[in-house]
């Protein structure tokens, strides 16, 4: 071993978080007796500037070559103390941390003696580990000057525009034929009553016009490998059976096409042809042929249709595109809860029960009824409409797949729907069955005031059941007005279920590809819910919009902007320092048995010839340092930097010394 180890140990009070439970002086005295410990001291807040100064001075004065801090979790302040160690002149990887707060004092508050003893044990283990640490140089890797955005709803659009504006080449991948996402399905938006298309389409056009954005619609991400700064992404561009460069969006193919299908964009309330665009303002305005429905009658290829443009080709294959990007933003949005599973409300059993999104299409100008709200059963205009709030939200019934969280948008869009009805159908009375009206945003409460002022009626009670009058198809909505304590059985012409928002199915595939995880409610898990809601624990992967949790459009745009900013930082810096935690093969010991090859999911290990001997070799760039190959190697030939066998074994030995 190199020169004698002189380790400095700094025990933190963390105010009363640690000092309030354990006996700090007793711990410091004990620490001084440990082998290789040259200096031990305590301070109220070691992570503070004076605390870090204490470390730096101690290194100089005591000529230390190793540092251990006993305080909070390394996941919190390891970077802080590594920098302090470096500034003190010691290699930052000669630093180690004992977690005596989150995993000791905070969880053993009523057991001061045991917590003190455990703190001593944890410090003894970290000192043993520090004694075996070796200096390492952080790996600096270049960062590809490009970013990938998955999903082109308002979140993906906003993120891409911000990235592109900051000069970053952005690949925007959308699985639908057009960008716009759920927002393009809305008619008006609360609380300003802006028309959704009017504020969204300009941004969609900006996306198409931006030379920094390469837009890939009707495409899906198939595979992602690599790491921050160097992601290799495989994208499948599903075939539209139309050559995008040749198609000018004239729509003649659509006119002549004899096949019609329910349009997914309109939730099936309006037909579309086999050759179609989801909605008139689609971006890109390129037609797609739904090959499952197309009967190959060739009418669309005829002269009076596509004719000489020759944009249509029934045999056009899917295309695979590979791109290299530095960072990735996931913006996969949301779906609606399958409210049919709440049988007591009779969705899909009674004609005049619709969901909030279906109501948006009905009242939308480009919708199936040209914006005229009608009852599906008889086409008449409803004079009384019931709105069922919390339809599947704030509901613990897992059997029905209901969601425990508040979906945050339904109160406000139901108020908006109520306003639109009062405005469009004179004499129509909207009844909102609510538990709490959550009007928390800017100008939201004023909007609530306005709707009540205009004549919206509010009944404080969750709807228990809906039954239908078989002759008139009117709906009997039963709820208790809990403010009066009376059971209301109200006959309504129509009912709108403000159903919950839920994570999309496709997000699960993306989650696996990017090794993300879910929070208990099923949305994607952020790095920190309060302080870092747009990053993830996978370096270089960020979240934008509803995929991280329910939020309305203003919050989605703010979140997407934050994700774009965070994602652009490594790219603008041009390089990123990676922890030098990777495997190295000791060529003398390696017998070429290739056990390690099978262990590595990243293909970082391969067999190479070194003067006629077959030796395993680790590609530093690909290796992520998980250690799976290291501990499988039968001849112990693989050394895991910063987590070597000696380091871990010394920790175990220290652990077992019951003093």
């Amino acid at each position: 071993m190199d020169q004698e180890k002189r380790i400095g140990v700094f025990v933190c009070h963390c105010g009363t978080n640690i000092a309030g439970v354990v006996n700090i002086p007793e711990i410091v005295e004990y620490t001084k007796t440990l082998p290789n410990v040259a200096f031990a001291d305590a301070y109220t807040y070691v992570c503070s500037t004076p605390g870090q100064e204490m470390i730096i001075n101690a290194i100089k004065e005591q000529n230390l070559n190793g540092v251990v801090v006993a305080a909070c979790s390394p996941r919190l302040h390891e970077p802080t103390f590594r920098r302090a160690t470096e500034r003190g002149g010691v290699n930052q990887f000669l630093f180690s941390m004992a977690n005596i707060r989150e995993q000791n004092t905070w969880v053993h508050m009523e057991m001061p003696e045991e917590a003190t003893r455990k703190a001593k044990d944890l410090i003894r283990m970290e000192v043993a580990r520090a004694s075996k640490l070796e200096p390492l140089e952080a790996k600096v890797v270049p960062v590809e000057k490009a970013a990938l955005v998955i999903g082109a709803g308002i979140a993906g659009i906003q993120a891409s525009l911000d990235l592109a504006a900051s000069g970053i080449k952005t690949y925007l991948v959308e699985k639908e034929p057009s960008i716009g996402g759920n927002m393009s399905r809305l008619d008006k938006t609360f609380p300003t009553l802006d028309c959704s298309q009017c504020i969204l389409t300009p941004k969609m056009v900006d996306v198409e016009r931006s030379e920094n954005i390469e837009l890939m619609t009707y495409s899906e991400v198939e595979d992602v490998s690599g790491y921050i700064g160097n992601f290799d992404v495989t994208i499948r561009q599903k075939s539209r059976y139309v050559y995008e460069d040749k198609c000018n969006g004239c729509g003649k193919c659509q006119e002549v096409c004899p096949v019609s299908r329910p349009n997914e964009f309109d939730l099936g309330l309006q037909p579309r042809k086999a050759a179609y665009v989801p909605f008139p303002q689609a971006v890109p305005l390129k037609f797609t042929i739904d090959m499952d429905s197309c009967i190959k009658c060739d009418l669309c290829k005829a002269d009076d249709a596509c004719g000489e443009l020759e944009a249509i080709d029934f045999d056009k294959p899917d295309e695979i595109v590979n791109v290299k990007v530095g960072t990735i933003i996931v913006a996969t949005g949301f779906d609606m809860y399958d409210v049919e599973r709440k049988e007591e409300w009779g969705y899909k059993v009674y004609d005049n029960v619709v969901t909030g999104l279906e109501f948006e299409r009905l009242i939308g100008a480009s919708g199936p009824t040209g914006g005229k709200v009608i009852r599906p059963s008889d086409g008449k205009q409803p004079k009384s409409v019931g709105f069922v709030l919390c339809a599947g939200s704030r509901d613990q019934d897992e059997e029905d797949g209901a969601k425990p969280y508040c979906s945050r948008v339904c109160c406000m869009y139901s108020l908006k729907h109520a306003h639109q009805l009062i405005e469009k159908i004179p004499g129509c009375v909207p009844y909102l069955f609510y538990m709490d009206i959550r009007s928390f945003g800017k100008a939201y409460e004023e909007f609530y005031y306005r709707i009540q002022d205009e004549g919206g009626k509010f009944i404080r009670g969750r709807v228990a059941k809906i039954t239908e009058d078989p002759i008139t198809k009117n709906l009997i909505v039963t709820a208790e007005d809990t403010l009066l304590g009376e059971i209301m059985e109200m006959e309504m012409d129509m009912v709108v279920l403000a159903s919950a928002v839920v994570p999309t199915e496709s997000t699960q595939k993306i989650k696996k590809l990017l090794t993300l995880s879910n929070s208990p409610d099923g949305w994607l898990l952020e790095a920190h819910p309060k302080l870092n809601p747009m990053s993830t624990t996978t370096d270089g992967v960020f979240l934008a919009g509803m995929c991280q949790g329910p939020r309305d459009i203003p919050d989605v745009v703010a979140h997407a902007g934050a994700a774009a900013a965070a994602a652009s930082i490594p790219i603008h810096r041009g390089s990123v320092t990676l922890e030098p935690i990777y495997a190295i093969v000791d060529e003398e010991r390696c017998g070429g048995c290739a056990t390690c090859i099978g262990m590595c999911p990243y293909g970082a290990t391969e067999l190479t010839h070194v003067d006629s001997k077959l030796i395993a070799h680790v590609n530093e760039a690909k290796c992520k340092g998980c250690g799976t190959c290291g501990s499988a190697c039968p001849s112990g030939a693989i050394k895991m930097q910063h987590f070597t066998n000696e380091q871990i074994m010394s920790e175990i030995e220290a652990f077992a010394q019951v003093w």
Binding site: A479, E480, G485
Partner: protein, 185 residues
């Protein structure tokens, strides 16, 4: 604020709402660990078939149980629930309101506030093992359809009745029955 002298003794009761926080714990001791989680949405009251034709409001029973208003145990409406469990299947907080009502009835029974009609049913079971015992006319009906006059239950094997009686004694139900019958004389 009424000045001191002004208060009429009759009004002494005003403002003396007595809440017993243990009531909900007693209810939850009947295997209902989430009874306190009700958020007063009214789904139970609205869907209750008995509520349509009586003063029974399941939501109010839940509110009193959670706040600890023990007078709910004296409320005759407590015994109008037909235990159809419609409210239980629809409750978004899964508090099982029907079983909360049953638990409150159990507590009321121990405080001898149970209707005599229930006590009568227990009496029949104590004597014959059946809540609705056989009778002459029915025995004839049984023979007419080719069945023995008495079913192979405790009616044909009365030696099992003593086990039922033991269970009723051990659980303390018999004592309540006897005391209530004595008091009602």
């Amino acid at each position: 604020m009424a000045t001191e002298g002004m208060r009429n003794p009759k009004h002494e009761q005003l403002g003396k709402t007595v809440l017993d926080p243990n009531l909900i714990k007693e209810v939850e001791a009947h295997g209902l660990d989430k009874a306190r989680m009700c958020y007063q949405c009214g789904t139970c009251s609205a869907g209750c078939p008995m509520g349509q034709r009586s003063g029974l409001r399941v939501r109010k029973v839940m509110r009193k149980a959670i706040l600890g208003m023990r007078d709910v145990l004296d409320d005759p409406d407590l015994w109008l629930c037909t235990t159809c469990y419609t409210c239980t299947d629809r409750c978004p907080r899964r508090v099982v309101p029907t079983d909360v009502i049953m638990a409150l009835r159990n507590i009321a029974t121990r405080e001898k506030k149970v209707p005599m009609s229930m006590i009568k049913i227990m009496g029949a079971i104590y004597k014959t093992g059946h809540g609705v015992p056989n009778n002459e006319e029915n025995a004839k009906q049984r023979v007419a359809v080719g069945l023995p006059p008495n079913p192979p239950t405790t009616h044909s094997y009365p030696e099992y009745i003593k086990d039922i009686q033991t269970i009723l004694e051990v659980t303390g139900l018999l004592k309540i029955k006897e005391e209530m019958e004595a008091e009602s004389q």
